[in-house]
């Protein structure tokens, strides 16, 4: 492989990885606190993307005079709010009744919520199953550095993924709410006895997780400007894999897992595109066999 190609692929991998990492952050966040693999997370992303789509389309029919950066920021806010709302709604209606029930029934419910959102959106007459072009919120600008092509949206993806990870780490480690979250993740009942409002903490986690999904949604839609109700399935699955790879429940781990999976997938694909996906999964399996707890996950030693 030529050197420029190598670096180009690295950039490609970072871009894809950033998307995975953004989604994985939300997965890992919810998992870390209530041990639920929230399969619907990828669909919160889709809801966020559609919210921005309708919002932006509406604004753009009114006026074209809004500066792109303002439009993007407004869109981001809409995405965050939409993601947070749908996440909390799912939590309230579907997950909360199962809080103290077998863990796997909550998982199946999550699969149900995921299916519901996908099919419901595809069935709604004003959304439907078709692919829609996502409007350009920011004008894409490409530039070439030493033969390697870059663009502003790639940099935005990578930058925002890192910023959000830092923000999240800060929230979890440095704030009162973060402390409460960590307490709930250790032991719900003990946390309750210590005067922590467990349900409020979980709500907060879902709001943040949903907002992250919304952010991932708008970025994904800007990077790959085609949205449809099933748009979350494949990246969601990969992001979940990334979260596990990094050590599920671990925020920097999700980030690392996302970027590693993205890069691995890109290089595997460029090596052999027929087997690219399979190779990415094979890497995952090998990593997990060597480190069953994921890359940054803590080893759970069992007490006998």
């Amino acid at each position: 492989m030529e050197l420029t190609t190598f670096f180009q692929q690295l950039i490609n991998g970072l871009q894809l990885g950033a998307i995975y990492a953004l989604i994985a952050l939300g997965y890992t966040m919810v998992y870390g606190i209530i041990r639920l693999i929230n399969f619907a997370h990828a669909d919160f992303l889709m809801v966020g993307a559609f919210a921005v789509y309708f919002f932006a389309s509406f604004i753009l029919t009114l006026t074209n005079a809004i500066p792109p950066i303002i439009l993007f920021i407004l869109g981001l806010i809409v995405a965050l709010v939409a993601g947070a709302l749908i996440a909390e709604l799912s939590n309230r209606l579907a997950y909360k009744p199962l809080r103290y029930k077998p863990r796997l029934s909550a998982l199946i419910t999550a699969v149900g919520v995921s299916m519901f959102l996908e099919y419901f959106f595809a069935s709604l007459p004003f959304i439907g199953p078709s692919f829609r072009a996502f409007p350009d919120l920011l004008k894409p600008v490409s530039f070439v550095v030493g033969g390697v092509y870059l663009n502003n949206i790639q940099l935005l993806d990578i930058g925002l993924a890192i910023v959000l990870m830092i923000l999240l780490t800060f929230i979890v480690n440095r704030t009162m709410m973060g402390k409460a979250m960590r307490a709930v993740s250790q032991d719900k009942d003990a946390a309750k006895l210590m005067g922590i409002n467990v349900e409020r903490t979980i709500t907060f986690v879902f709001l943040i997780g949903g907002a992250l999904a919304g952010a991932a949604g708008i970025l994904m839609a800007m990077t790959y400007p085609r949205i449809y109700p099933n748009m979350g399935i494949l990246p969601g699955l990969k992001a979940f894999v990334a979260a596990v790879l990094g050590g599920i429940g671990n925020i920097p781990g999700a980030m690392l897992g996302g970027f590693l999976l993205g890069i691995a997938e890109i290089y595997a694909t460029s090596y052999n595109s027929l087997l690219g996906e399979g190779i990415a999964f094979a890497i995952l399996i090998i990593v997990l066999l060597v480190r069953p707890q994921g890359l940054l996950g803590e080893k759970q030693s069992e007490k006998v």
Binding site: P97, P102, G112, V244, G278
Partner: protein, 328 residues
């Protein structure tokens, strides 16, 4: 008499099965159960095989496999390849087609079991969600591999599989599967598997080779999934990689958990209820209500959520009496 009836659950199970078979056959030949209902019943039965075999892995042994259709894919492709090849040979009618089909199914099951053993290996080191993700990854790898083997059609699928899955064969295969799994679960080996689910460390320390039983659970579960896959392929006369993705695996997982994890009765019941609901009742209801067919899955997933909220342990969390052998 009543006592005998109560004390011989196996006999009861068989009588139920035979009665059901005769009933269905009568209804079918009488034209009351048309081809549409028969194909649904066939699919129900195949789901019974898939769900009970997954239940052995997830429910009985307490592992967490989400790539069950990967095993079914191996079974479908092995069995399908075998029959398509054999059917090309000149046949003077001396070899019974049913016999050949059984051979094909068993070969498919063995193929799946070998893959199951391979996938069972990581189960020794991995737990819970990590194991889940690895089985999911394996399932996708199997699909990717099949997609790239042009000899079995690649993305075109394996075509021209003879239509050998008659209702009778599917029914017998289902009953045999259920009987075998039931006899296995209610034996000392089954109890050993259950002890792995309950507390693997403690099981190890009362002399259970937990490693062995984890792998066996995968091997046996995969074997029957392979049989299910083989039956499906010969029912719809083709095998296609997209039928065996993670989404399809989730549907089997849903059957197991809606039915009640660890309960074979639950898996059987849920396989019927969910398949009939999805493929028969909902389309009919929608037609009656004048809604588009696309709403079917919306209602289906909504019902799924509601059932889980109101019956988190599933529809039939406990085994029915006739599913527990008398000598247990």
């Amino acid at each position: 008499m009543k006592k005998v009836w109560r004390n011989l659950p196996t006999l009861r199970l068989l009588i139920y099965a035979v009665a059901l078979y005769i009933l269905l056959m009568l209804l079918s030949s009488g034209g009351i159960l048309n081809d549409y209902l028969m194909i649904i019943i066939n699919i129900c039965l195949i789901y019974v095989i898939l769900a009970t075999s997954l239940n052995l892995i997830n429910g009985i042994t307490g592992l967490f496999s989400v790539g069950h259709m990967g095993f079914a894919a191996v079974g479908a492709y092995v069995a399908g390849t075998f029959t398509t090849l054999v059917w090309k040979l000149p046949n003077d009618g001396s070899v019974s087609t049913t016999l050949l089909f059984i051979v094909a199914l068993v070969l498919g099951g063995i193929g799946a079991a070998i893959v199951g053993a391979l996938i069972g290996m990581p189960a020794l080191r991995l737990k819970g969600d990590y194991l889940a993700i690895v089985t999911l990854g394996f399932g996708e790898i199997i699909r990717t591999i099949i997609n790239n083997i042009d000899a079995v059609g690649g993305p075109r699928g394996l075509l021209g599989i003879p239509a050998l899955s008659s209702f009778t064969i599917i029914f017998v295969a289902t009953v045999v599967t259920v009987l075998i799994l039931r006899y296995l679960v209610y034996s000392s080996h089954g109890r050993a598997m259950i002890s792995v689910r309950e507390d693997a460390t403690a099981a190890d320390l009362v002399g259970i080779n937990t490693t062995k039983y984890k792998v066996w659970a995968f091997v046996i579960g995969a074997f029957f999934a392979g049989i299910g896959g083989g039956l499906l392929a010969h029912l719809i006369q083709l095998a296609h990689p997209t039928q065996y993705g993670f989404y399809a695996s989730f549907l089997v997982l849903i059957v197991v958990y809606i039915g009640g994890v660890g309960s074979m009765t639950g898996s059987i019941l849920a396989a019927f209820v969910l398949t009939i609901l999805e493929k028969y009742l909902l389309p009919m209801l929608l037609q009656w209500a004048g809604l588009g067919v696309e709403w079917r899955m919306v209602i289906y997933s909504l019902l799924l959520i509601i059932v889980m909220i109101y019956r988190p342990e599933g529809l039939m969390p406990r085994e029915a009496k006739f599913m527990i052998p008398e000598d247990h």
